[in-house]
């Protein structure tokens, strides 16, 4: 299909239209579930079970949102979730970047062996160690506290360590050496040079961490018992158990729980995509 001289061939135009058509249809299919969610969340309950279902709500009931959210201590669950997510995120960033620095910049005996051990733990699904972990936390008397959810994040995450190490390795050592000659300490180099130069990858780690802990359901389910300590994910599950068929309320609450992620996604989309690309490609 070489185009010499004038314009584009008819065949190319047709294939272009075909591509747009496919992508357009695909986009609609991808967005429909979300549209369905919004539309259901605004319907009165009597309209939810109309047959055939209405695609757009014929009567919009904004009150569904406050009504549904008042059914559960939403503020409390929101606060619990934010508390856990923020502490996990801080832990993962601080510890993983320090460890990654040691793996990429310092020379010490057994470094490579230990690095392979860290990588090997990445292959181990977390559920495999869950039961021993549960027993350990029980012995520590930490069941039904936030500790089992937060503490592991402060022991580094192999995936983030790997990501950060790879990124640190791309920096030149000359800058570090110059700083050391100027009297900068090891920690100074890490804090003033390595970290500021790694903003994109730190952003990616922060976003992954936020996304993971915000959505996490399995660990809170196992470690939290008292309803006052529930996270949003657990609260949502409880709400579903109680109001199982009030789909308009369920959709409203689910949407509110998703909203922070969607907002962060739109503002930090570049970091999201960059982060995914860092990890998956190469």
């Amino acid at each position: 299909m070489s185009t010499t001289g004038f314009g584009i061939s008819a065949r190319q135009i047709i294939s272009k239209i075909f591509v747009y058509l496919l992508l357009g249809i695909g986009s609609i299919v991808v967005l429909l579930p979300l549209q369905w969610m919004i539309s259901t969340s605004l319907k009165p309950l009597s309209h939810v079970f109309r047959f055939p279902p209405e695609f757009w709500p014929q009567k919009v009931v904004w009150e569904n949102y406050p009504n549904a959210l008042n059914q559960l201590p939403f503020d409390l669950y929101f606060a619990n979730t934010v508390f856990i997510v923020v502490l996990c995120l801080l832990g993962e960033i601080i510890v993983s970047s320090v460890v990654a620095y040691a793996f990429s910049r310092l020379r010490w005996r057994g470094r490579n062996v230990l690095f392979i051990v860290v990588l090997a733990t990445m292959m181990l699904p977390r559920q495999v160690t869950l039961i021993p972990e549960f027993i350990v936390f029980r012995h520590l008397g930490m069941i039904d506290t936030f500790w089992p959810l937060i503490l592991p994040s402060w022991f580094g995450n192999p995936f983030y360590i790997f990501l950060l190490r790879q990124y640190f390795l791309t920096h030149s050592r000359e800058l570090d050496q110059a700083a050391v000659i100027d009297g900068c300490s090891r920690f100074g180099v890490f804090w003033r040079i390595t970290l500021p130069m790694s903003k994109p990858v730190l952003g990616a780690v922060a976003i992954f961490s936020f996304q993971f802990h915000w959505n996490d359901f399995f660990r809170p389910l196992i470690f939290l018992l008292d309803q006052d300590k529930y996270t949003l994910a657990l609260g949502l599950r409880f709400f579903q158990g109680t109001y199982g068929t009030e789909w308009n309320s369920l959709m409203a609450v689910s949407l509110v729980v998703m909203l922070p992620l969607i907002i962060v996604f739109f503002f930090a989309q570049k970091h999201f995509i960059q982060g995914v690309v860092f990890t998956g490609y190469k």
Binding site: K16, L23, P52, V128, I131, L221, R237, M258, L261, Q269
Partner: protein, 233 residues
């Protein structure tokens, strides 16, 4: 080992479909189109959403009388099954749901595609290679390390399905969606058989390890790394 079996069946269906759809969308996006970033955002959005809220949403979508999916099928004159209430259709329902977040892989393939040097295609075009030949002789081999990586992470990620079954079906109907981790969870935290559950965890790990080892063993037949000498076929 019913739950291990259905988990493997589910993975065998879900992983390849996700790879194929991800690749196709990435290739369509990689054709110099306008509005690339808009399409990319739309396709990627579901991939960041997961957990309980998404599970509840899909439970509603799969509702047999009032759900979105069967409503859409009715437009084409098809009366859809009861999905989550059907022993046969519950696994396909989970496969469909996982397909919604195909954007995660797509982003990675797109980055891989954009890194393929265009002169390879130009050279192929001069040599008279057609569209299919270019895809099978250039695009796929160049992308094979990325696909391989997605395959490995896909196995680990897909086998761990838990929240969706827990919320949507609780393993039902008649244990048709009793995925492995749900079974493990029940043994450990409802029947309090910690020892047995620990053994289950080890079996799970070995199963994943075996699958990974098998995949690695096949890798040398189809994964092409740049810089290796290419064999003639």
């Amino acid at each position: 080992m019913h739950s291990l079996k259905i988990t493997v069946i589910f993975s065998l269906a879900s992983i390849p479909l996700n790879i194929v759809f991800g690749l196709v969308i990435a290739m369509l996006l990689n054709t110099n189109i306008r509005g690339l970033s808009v399409f990319r955002t739309i396709y990627y959005l579901p991939a960041i959403l997961s957990g309980v809220a998404v599970a509840i949403l899909w439970q509603w979508i799969f509702s047999s009388d009032f759900g979105l999916l069967n409503t859409a099928l009715r437009i084409f004159g098809i009366e859809g099954p009861a999905w989550l209430g059907s022993k046969i259709w519950v696994l396909p329902a989970f496969v469909i749901m996982r397909l919604w977040s195909v954007g995660g892989g797509m982003i990675i393939y797109l980055a891989g595609l954009q890194a393929i040097p265009t002169d390879l295609y130009e050279a192929a075009e001069i040599d008279g290679a057609n569209w299919w030949q270019r895809i099978f002789r250039i695009t796929l081999p160049m992308l094979s390390p990325t696909i391989f990586f997605q395959l490995i992470t896909g196995v680990i990620f897909t086998m761990q399905i838990f929240t969706e079954t827990f919320i949507m079906t609780d393993g039902g109907p008649a244990n048709a969606s009793l995925f492995y981790l749900l079974y493990l969870y029940r043994q450990a935290f409802q029947n309090f058989k910690m020892g047995y559950a620990s053994a289950l965890a080890w079996v799970f790990f070995i199963a994943i390890l075996l699958l990974t080892v098998i995949l690695f063993a096949t890798a040398r037949f189809w994964v092409y790394y740049e810089g290796e000498s290419e064999e003639d076929n």
